[in-house]
Assembly symmetry: C2
Homo-oligomer: 437 residues x 2
């Protein structure tokens, strides 16, 4: 039994506290990050190289060195549906652990789609809308990004076509249904709807699909339709930029909780958008001497790009169709074990996170999935919220630290999403049948 508590449990803030600007860490990095390269020429990209894929508003953000980029009113209005997201003091988790630390968590799972992904899908849809594009194409694995983009496209009246890795499309009907409710068209990939899809099906008739294949289909569809854009849910600068609303709100909420000093920040990292979003505003505080926070990226042991990869130029996709990005990578052909945290199964890491890690501004650990789910179950039983498979990696990292914490240490966990659609993975863990990848 966890005894009750009598202090403030959560800080929600008001709609007036939704950030008015996104924070661009490029303006503050001690050294400039390496530019993306054209896949054919190995020359630094110019904005025009991307115009077939993205609207100019997003391309400008991708290349910007401005510190603060205004959030359009139309985007802030949609953010109001779930932002500011709540921050909780994890009293019951602290008691369950017997830690002398004070633990807080910032929860993104209360967004309409259940994860932080909507923070970027909404501005992506908006900038496409004002550029006159009428259709978005994307890939999705487990479906969190697909659902977020479907919601955003519906909100701004755009068509949304989603290629979902076939094994997930067939095996995870809930996410697929969520995209349908928001009016999106989706299909298992590889499919008969694209040239590359037909080629892949001929070549690998029994394939269950992969993110790399689905990206290729979505990119082909966008390039062939002048009214369409391709949308990506992580990795790129503009995606991480949009996610900085998380970290900005978090700093304000810690202030309301009366915590001037944050010692540790734990966030899960796959492509890097969640980690970047919550940590970049904190890195700025560190760089300006207002904080001395240790930021820890928590990767799955199955896709340990920061902890075991190389820092070099690599393609963002398997087929080598995307620009080359300077990042920590396990290689474009690396196929992670089929762990449940589908959102973290990426061979590389966002260039901005990679750069920050290389500069020593971020640390990293890797976590096996049984430790992650053990942490998730403990968290659920203490706090009531069942976290997403991905978020469990951050909770596991925080628990490691809480067990050795000094009196009064302050730990913040980024809980990036809800685990309600991950419940079968919890069953697998509780029954003892989960592989310890």
């Amino acid at each position: 039994m966890l005894s009750p508590v009598s202090e403030q449990t959560k800080v929600v803030l008001t709609e007036a506290d939704i950030p008015t600007h996104w924070y661009n860490i490029v303006a503050d990095l001690p050294t400039p990050p390496a530019p993306p390269l054209h896949p054919a020429t190995d020359q630094p990209l110019v904005p025009d190289d991307l115009i077939a894929l993205f609207p100019m508003g997003l391309i400008e953000q991708e290349a910007s060195a401005e510190r603060w980029i205004p959030i359009p009113d139309e985007v802030r209005e949609v953010y109001k549906l779930w932002r500011p997201s709540p921050m909780y003091r994890a009293y019951r988790l602290e008691k369950a652990l017997g830690t002398p630390a004070r633990i807080y968590y910032k929860y993104e799972g209360a967004s309409p789609v259940g994860s932080h992904k909507a923070n970027s899908s909404v501005p992506q849809a908006y900038f496409n809308k004002i550029a006159g594009r009428t259709r978005l194409t994307t890939e999705t694995g487990a479906g969190q990004w697909g659902a977020a983009l479907a919601f955003a496209a519906e909100t701004f009246g755009l068509k949304c076509d989603i290629w979902q890795v076939r094994s997930s499309f067939e095996g995870k009907p809930y996410r697929h249904a969520q995209m349908e409710v928001f009016g999106a068209w989706s299909i298992g990939s590889p499919s008969e709807t694209t040239e590359i899809g037909r080629k892949l099906r001929e070549q690998f008739p029994d394939t269950s699909g992969s993110l790399g294949m689905a990206i290729s289909e979505a990119v082909e569809a966008a390039v062939k339709d002048p009214n369409a854009s391709y949308s990506l849910g992580s990795v790129l600068n503009h995606v991480l930029l949009h996610q900085t609303v998380i970290g900005q709100e978090a700093l304000k909420q810690l202030e309301v909780f009366g915590e001037p000093k944050l010692d540790y920040l734990f966030a899960c990292a796959g492509g890097g958008s969640n980690l970047g979003g919550i940590s970049f505003p904190v890195i700025r505080e560190n760089l300006e001497g207002r904080q001395n926070t240790t930021i820890v990226a928590c990767e799955p042991k199955a896709a340990p790009s920061l902890t075991e990869g190389e820092f070099r130029y690599d393609f963002g996709d398997t087929a080598g169709m995307t620009p080359k990005l300077k990042m920590y990578t396990l290689g474009q052909n690396f196929v992670p074990d089929p762990v449940h945290a589908g959102g973290l199964r990426y061979h590389g890491m966002a260039p901005l996170v990679s750069h920050a890690y290389h500069e020593g501004l971020v640390k990293a650990i890797s976590v096996r999935q049984r430790e992650a789910f053990e942490a998730g179950v403990l968290f659920s039983r203490a706090e009531g919220i069942i976290p997403a498979s991905e978020s469990n990696h951050a909770i596991a990292g925080a628990i490691r630290q809480a067990k050795q914490a000094a009196e009064g240490e302050v730990i913040l966990i980024g809980v990036s999403g809800s685990g309600l659609l991950d419940l079968p993975a919890y069953t697998e863990f509780l029954s003892g049948e989960m592989a310890d990848s």
Copy 2:
């Protein structure tokens, strides 16, 4: 495309605004409700008749005529995990409907278990804990109540044993997993774990189970164990009492939105706890002349107890083991069509809601499930939140009214839960395969 808006979208309030008391409508009803009767003697129940099933704290609430019943601090502390629940202005839904009405919705789906059920499971677990009981037994259909009680039992260190209708236990693995994550034991009913269960399995070897059977098993288990109590998720006075936090918060939130006058309130009604919880504080406003709100209970056409039932004494369960309650009922043997809104498939209606309806304080309509899901899809696409199957009935009722509303009419919808675990039902609707029960 739904164009953006520029006004306040939601009112969340702060933890200090969580009600300090539950509101007991018995104190204000123009005529006293009829008492429950002992099933064997047909004499009015006395508190001792219930002591094998419930702790004295809850029995006292069941029989109380006090207007305000204090919420223990220990319960308010747990409420802080999700209360106050948010109220939204449905700007985008209004635009999609082209209605001159102003539509608001109070959303209970952000609770840790995804529905309003936690408002009562938490105090039920608490009053059992302080009475020294160590184990709770209950039944559940689709699993919303089971998950809520599992969460509450874990929070107060109680064992929780759940008999779930076998067809749901086997066919809805997500809810079942949710109960497991919170540490509850659950089994498909009828089971080999009780006398009545074994008897039923012998008698009906191929049965897929029913709520009536599962209640019988949970009651038998509680009665046979002096350390155990039985817990119910709706129907009884004390359950509706706990849910009045919803309506109290809603009145305050309308005030913050600058709405002195509420014209219509729509809420779904199965056993009656959601409808009672949001409407009883509004009925008080009506009775005292501060409001003139039309309150509309929205039932499924498949279980139309208010709109097509009789107002008479009936048993709460199929087997006739419970006290007799004066209520609108379709008869203890009535078996509703297998509609997706499992939480509304009850043959009767809470005695307090029945009484209020009989007195003309509440109106009622019935809604077929295709109209309900059509409303749910429209709501999802406008507001981002995918509502529970049950809540869709209230949304459908509100949409009927919004389409014929006068300029400036104010409509409030009680959205009792999240539909993330109901997504397969949405797929069935969108594919055109849903029966119109």
